[in-house]
Structure formats: C-alpha cells, structure tokens
Amino acid sequence: MQLPQHTRNFILEAGELSRFTGRFFRESVKPRYEVNEFINQCFIVGYKSLPLVGLTGFIMGLVLTMQLRPSLIDYGVESELPAMVGISIVREIGPVITALIFAGKIGSSIGAELGSMKVTEQIDAMEVSGTNPFKYLVVTRVMATTLMLPILVLLGDAISLYGAYLGVNIKATTSFHLYYTQVFDNLSFGDVIPAFVKSFFFGFAIGVVGCFKGYNSSKGTEGVGRSANSAVVVASLMVFILDLIAVQVTDLFGLN
C-alpha cells in the first residue's frame, strides 16, 4: 500500500527538519563561534520586536480584564480579578501570544531573508568565500530567537499586567500596590517557571522553522514568498503543539 502524496511529503519534510535540527546542534558546538553576528541577531530579533510585543501585551491585559469582569461580578468574586488575570497572563496567555507575535514577525522575516539569500546565490557566495553559512546564518539566528523570546515574554507579561491594572481601574478603584500584591500573592514558582521554560522551546522552534524554510527555499521569488508564509504557519503550529506537550509535562510534575 502506498501512502498518499501529501502524507509522504509531510513525512519527508518532518525528516528533513529533524536532520536540519541535528545539524544545528552539531554546528553550534564546533568553533568558530560567530559571536558578533549572534549579538547583532539578538538586537534584531529581541530589541526590535519589543515595541510590537509590548503593545500587544498591553492591549491583551486590558481587554482580558474588561472581558473577565462581568463574569466575575455574576459570581460575586470581582475582588479576584487581579489574581485571575495575573495567573492567566503569566501561565498561558503571555507566553503563547508573545510567541505567536514573534513567529509572525521574526519567523517570516528569517524565512524571507534566508530564502532571498538562497535564490540570489548569496549563501553560495558566503560558502565560496570560506565561511560556513549554516553557522553564520542559522546557528546565530536560532540561538538569538531561543534566548530572546523568554526575555520578551517576561517584558510582555510585565506590560500586560500593567494593561490589566488600567483595565481594573476603568470601573473600579484599586491602588497600584494592592493590585500587584494580589497578583503576586496568587502566583507561585510553579506558575512562573514552567511558563518561562516553555518559552525557550517556543523561541527555538520559531528560529529553527524560519531558518529551515528559508535555507531550503527554491523556485525564485515565488519560493521566497512561500518560505516566509510557511515559516509563520508551521512555527505558529509548533507553538501550540509545544504548549500542549508543556501542559502535559507540568501536569505530570503536579504543577497545574
């Protein structure tokens, strides 16, 4: 029995992605280390993503608070609003929304950049000049996304909690001190650490998928567009799959 074409393609692509990931680990431990390019990529993927992550985080916190309030009033637990918002943002919404925004901005940009370099022979030019393009382009970008996303998640959470504080104060008056006391009293390390750890995996997946799609781009400019697009789609899907795995793992350790 022969598998349908799209199933075979999916299995082949999954295999290629696994090989690509394996190569990343092999190349990342071998010298020479591209420190300057890594720092440059941290600036591009981290610092330059901050305004977008901050804005979405702020809106998310504000909207979440405003939408939760009526339900909590119905159940007579309006006073639990800061705690509920805090746990929701830190445990789940902050890391996942930040990762999705990051996949959209950085995944597509890496896919398009490497794809365009591939089809215009810039990657070959790098190779013939005696530079390992995989190490220079892929290892630095994947390491930067892996390291920068958790930092963005922390900053995004902080901005989001501030947005939620403003949301709380739209229809009630709660002091800044009281709000944050309620938020942090209800948060434990079991809430913060798993969320922080999973964002490293999200960052790694977004970097690997973006680089894989770009590095294997073909068919000219059409291929570049396709690489950028599929980098976002696959990276976003990977974020949800990893989130599903993370929730099972934290459940096993009794952290849910």
Binding site: Q122, D124, A125, M126, E127, V128, S129, T131
Partner: protein, 243 residues
C-alpha cells in the same frame, strides 16, 4: 614547463536521470584565461561549482592548486577556497550590507589580525581596480547592473586569489558595459597573473578575454583551441557557436 593550477580528469556528474558531465577533462595553466563555451543546460555552471566544491562530483578527479577538491575536509576546503575567486552570474552581493561591508566580509573572515587602516587600504585598492571608489558607502540596491558586477569582481579580488571562476560575467549587461567588464577581466589577469575559467555565451567577451576555448557538448570537451582556430573550424557543431 607552465604550472597547471587546475586539472580535471574524467569528471562525471548527474542529477537523477539527467547526466550532465560524462568524462570531462580540463587543464588550466597559471596565468591563462580559459573559456568554456556550451549551450544552455550543457553543464558549464555545474562544472565550475564542482571545481569550487559547491557540488560533489559523481566520479573523476578535480585537482586545484595541488589539492584534490572532493577529498578535502571542510576546513581544508575553506582554506583552498580563499585562493579561488568566484564571480556569480547574479553577482550575489549581500543585500543587507554596504559596498564596503561586502568587501570587508571575506577579508575579515580570513585576516582577523589586519588592522583597520590596512583593511581600508585593501578595500580602496579593490574598488580602484574596478573604478568604483565612490560607491564605498552605497547599498547594492542603489547600483546599476554593471556597477554591481564590478563590485562583485572587486569582492572576488579582495583576497588576491590565484584562480578566478567567472560564471556568465556579462549576462544581462548592455554591449558597452559587457565590453568594459571583459576588458576589466583582462586587466586583472595581467595585473595579478591570475588564472581564470570563464563560462559564457557572449562571443565578444570570449574573444576579448580567452587565451583558449573549450566547447562543452554532451558532457564532454568536444573541441578545443584558440578563438581564431575555432572560428576557422569546418565542423558544423563548432561553427554554430561562431555564426
């Protein structure tokens, strides 16, 4: 006896069922400009990509500057590549870098100890060679096709290679610019005594630059000679390139 810098014997390369090279032989002497002529899809670009190690041959030997390219480790190959310049058909300038950074890139990778002043002198020399010193801080997108080709050539020259491989150096250029590039290639060969393999369809470029021509047909070296010898050939397969 003249030194042979590239020696290729019985080279085979195929992609699936498409056999591109089947027993190709070539010798390139020091200081020689050798043109490889052939129809589109005849395997000319594949040949030079095998020479630089971008493609692995299926069989045969490729010796470049005394090194067997297919047998080299990645580090050895990188060291050998420093002595080989490659001018891409698409120029392959790094879009995100200025002209200066494009030229600095290969230099900084291999001469890390070079001080700033020395590096800038080398960049200025390379740009002067191609007559484009004023483009130092421009981005590739701001340059015309001919200027981009010259900058790519300057980047190729920055490491002072012994051999330069030209992949369709005049394709897409107007006849005047194409002639300028061809003359520039000749000047570079004279100034640095480089050896070159020139892949081209442009008969004017070949006439100006080539000391010797090989016609690649059906995966083999079909005919060989100087421009004048091949023009005078009675063989219809050879004549079709010169008519």
């Amino acid at each position: 006896m003249e030194e042979t810098v590239i020696s290729i014997r019985n080279l085979h390369k195929s992609f699936g069922n498409n056999v591109v090279l089947k027993g190709f032989n070539l010798d390139l002497k020091r200081g020689e400009n050798l043109a490889v002529l052939g129809k589109s899809g005849s395997g000319k670009s594949v040949l030079i990509k095998c020479i630089i190690g971008l493609l692995a041959p299926d069989g045969g030997t490729i010796n470049v500057l005394g090194q067997s390219i297919p047998d080299l480790s990645q580090d050895e190959l990188d060291r050998t590549r420093v002595r080989i310049g490659f001018l891409f058909q698409s120029n392959a300038l790094y879009d995100s870098m200025t002209v200066k950074e494009n030229l600095e890139f290969p230099m900084r990778r291999h001469w890390l100890s070079a001080d700033e002043k020395k590096a800038e002198e080398k960049i200025a020399e390379a740009l002067e060679n191609v007559g484009l010193l004023h483009t130092l801080n421009m981005m590739p997108v701001e340059l015309s096709g001919g200027m981009r080709k010259r900058i790519a050539l300057a980047r190729t020259l920055i490491l002072k290679p012994d051999i330069i491989l030209y992949d369709e150096p005049t394709t897409g250029l107007d006849p005047i610019t194409a002639r300028e590039i061809s003359t520039l290639m000749n000047n570079i060969q004279k100034k640095y005594n480089t050896s070159s393999i020139i892949i081209s369809h442009d008969m004017n470029c070949i006439k100006i630059t080539a000391d010797r021509i090989i016609i690649l047909m059906n995966g083999r070296a079909y005919a060989e000679g100087t421009y004048d010898e091949l023009v005078a050939s009675a063989d219809p397969e050879v004549k079709q390139f010169f008519d």
